[in-house]
């Protein structure tokens, strides 16, 4: 690695140091690694078997083959992306290490980028084996979606990071009493982003809310691809625009919450 001036505004080396820290931690604990794979695998198997059952008994679902497994894989990508970000952050709170980091030359933007990188690492460890099992058990190859998968992935991971950034800021400001948000906040999006059913299923008022959420466009796009064999670039473009807005808002909120934590003295505390 290079040796930059420590005072410079942005340092890949400092980001690498944080990624290394989380890598050491993951490597040292097999339960942490197992946890990455366990739940996505259970989800995929359950929805996969359900889909196998209904496709044998309903003509529409026979035509819509793969939507359940596709939905569960993309949902897990969204959920696990946020969880990967938030858990890496929470590791610092659990370890009472936040003061060391905040007192070091590490900048907030570098910390956030390191957490984003770890979210990708954790996703790769958790999701790749699950997608391979989906191919083997249910003949569903998510990689055959090609460019569309890349568009889905980009939009979902951006949303997951935005949520992760805001949750981290709230925990930093309010202490570990807010930790539960990291585990549960994404489930608010589960019904609203129409993971398993079309947006038209929702009452009109909730449809407006749904279209304000980037993942909705991804799940609608996935259904269009798997049922109608059409890639909806317009949906992906809208999702991206919303994601850019939300991501910028999340970063601004994180910086505000960090400043507030400094004012409240929360960075010296790690309890409730």
């Amino acid at each position: 690695m290079t040796t930059p001036n420590p005072a410079i505004a942005f340092s890949p080396r400092r980001i690498g140091a944080m990624v290394l820290r989380y890598w050491y931690l993951m490597r040292s604990s097999w339960p942490r690694l197992l946890e990455l794979i366990y739940w996505p695998m259970v989800q995929m198997l359950m929805w996969g078997f359900l889909q196998s059952y209904v496709t044998e008994n309903a003509t529409f679902f026979a035509r819509a083959g793969g939507t359940f497994i596709g939905a569960v894989l993309l949902w897990d990508l969204l959920f696990r992306g946020q969880l990967g970000f938030s858990i890496s952050f929470l590791e610092e709170m659990w370890a009472r290490n936040m003061g060391n980091l905040m007192m070091s030359p590490l900048r907030p933007a570098e910390f956030v980028i390191a957490l984003m990188a770890m979210s990708l690492v954790r996703l790769a460890i958790g999701m790749v084996p699950v997608t391979l099992v989906a191919m083997w058990f249910f003949q569903f190859n998510v990689y055959s979606l090609g460019f569309a998968l890349a568009a889905f992935f980009l939009n979902l991971i951006l949303t997951s990071w935005s949520v992760g950034i805001v949750v981290s800021g709230v925990v930093l400001r309010n202490g570990m009493g807010a930790e539960g948000l990291a585990w549960t906040i994404m489930f608010l999006l589960l019904p609203l982003t129409c993971v398993y059913y079309p947006v038209a299923t929702l009452p009109y008022a909730l449809q407006i809310v749904a279209w304000a959420l980037p993942p909705t466009y991804v799940f609608e796009g996935m259904r269009a691809l798997l049922i109608e064999h059409t890639f909806r670039a317009d949906l992906m473009a809208w999702a991206l625009v919303l994601n850019v807005v939300y991501f910028a808002g999340a970063v601004a909120a994180f910086l505000k919450l960090l400043e507030s934590a400094r004012r409240q003295g929360s960075l010296m505390q790690t309890g409730e």
Binding site: A7, M18, L20, S28, A95, L101, P105
Partner: protein, 255 residues
């Protein structure tokens, strides 16, 4: 070597206040520390020592006032100076599952140290860490953990070192050993050290200046010798008790 001019204070605190909803932690204090000095911040629990140190580090934003470290305003530009300072505090830990070597490597990279491996080797020799360098940090004894925290605090050869109760919960032998290392480090690098402590023997041995705090204000500020003379006491512990119990200086007591 330090990059600062001799006349410039290493740490300057001006009218520093911290008011929380629950009350005032620090009520407008000012002091300046000479580069290369060792100063103690003393006071009972709740006197405002830890909050003062946290404000100097930039972990807590002052309600009013200004902190300058090595000529840099901490509120405006703390990131330009953080690589030249470091700290140790019982309020923070190193990640417990990481080995000592892994922790030091991570922090070495965070502080931009050119030869991290070499520096870890130096510190392992200086602070006697070799025996447990590859052991998880969480499995060390209190004394070993303190040595590791000190190694982290010295990794970047800081010009300013902030220590919050650096020998708390250590046995007298280990505590003495730590004090010797701090003296050696200051002598070798000309570092400015500010330490908060409840150990008066430690303060008498290490510090050339003592700032006594009580309820968020500075009650007295002098050399240990002058404080002993002023209060007519034989040791700093008695001076500490005089101040904590509001007994005032010797001349007042005589009246």
């Amino acid at each position: 070597m330090p990059e600062i001019a001799v006349t410039e204070p290493a740490i300057a605190v001006e009218n520093l206040k911290k008011i929380y909803k629950a009350g005032t932690a620090v009520a407008g204090i000012s002091f300046a520390l000479r580069a290369g000095s060792i100063t103690a911040l003393l006071g009972g629990n709740g006197a405002g020592k830890t909050t003062t140190i946290a404000m100097i580090m930039g972990l807590v934003a002052p309600t009013e006032g200004r902190v300058s470290v090595l000529g840099t305003d901490m509120a405006q530009n703390r990131h330009s100076v953080l690589h030249r300072m470091n700290f140790e505090s019982p309020y923070v830990d190193m990640p417990m599952r990481l080995t000592v070597r892994q922790n030091l490597r991570v922090f070495g990279n965070l502080y931009g140290i050119p030869d991290v491996r070499g520096r870890i080797g130096e510190l392992a020799n200086d602070l006697d860490l070799n025996e447990f360098l590859d052991r998880p940090t969480g499995k060390l004894s209190a004394g070993q953990k303190t040595r590791v925290s000190l190694a982290k605090a010295l990794l970047n050869r800081p010009e300013v070192l902030l220590l919050d109760e650096p020998t708390a919960s250590l046995d007298p032998d280990t505590a003495d050993w730590i004090r010797t290392r701090l003296e050696d480090y200051r002598a070798a690098h000309g570092a400015t050290i500010l330490l908060a402590s409840h150990n008066m023997g430690e303060v008498e041995r290490l510090c050339e200046r003592v700032i006594m705090m009580k309820r968020g204000v500075i009650e007295d500020d002098d050399t240990p010798q002058n404080l002993l003379a002023k209060y007519g006491r034989k040791n700093l512990e008695e001076v500490f008790l005089d101040i904590a119990r509001g007994r005032g200086v010797a001349s007042e007591a005589a009246q």
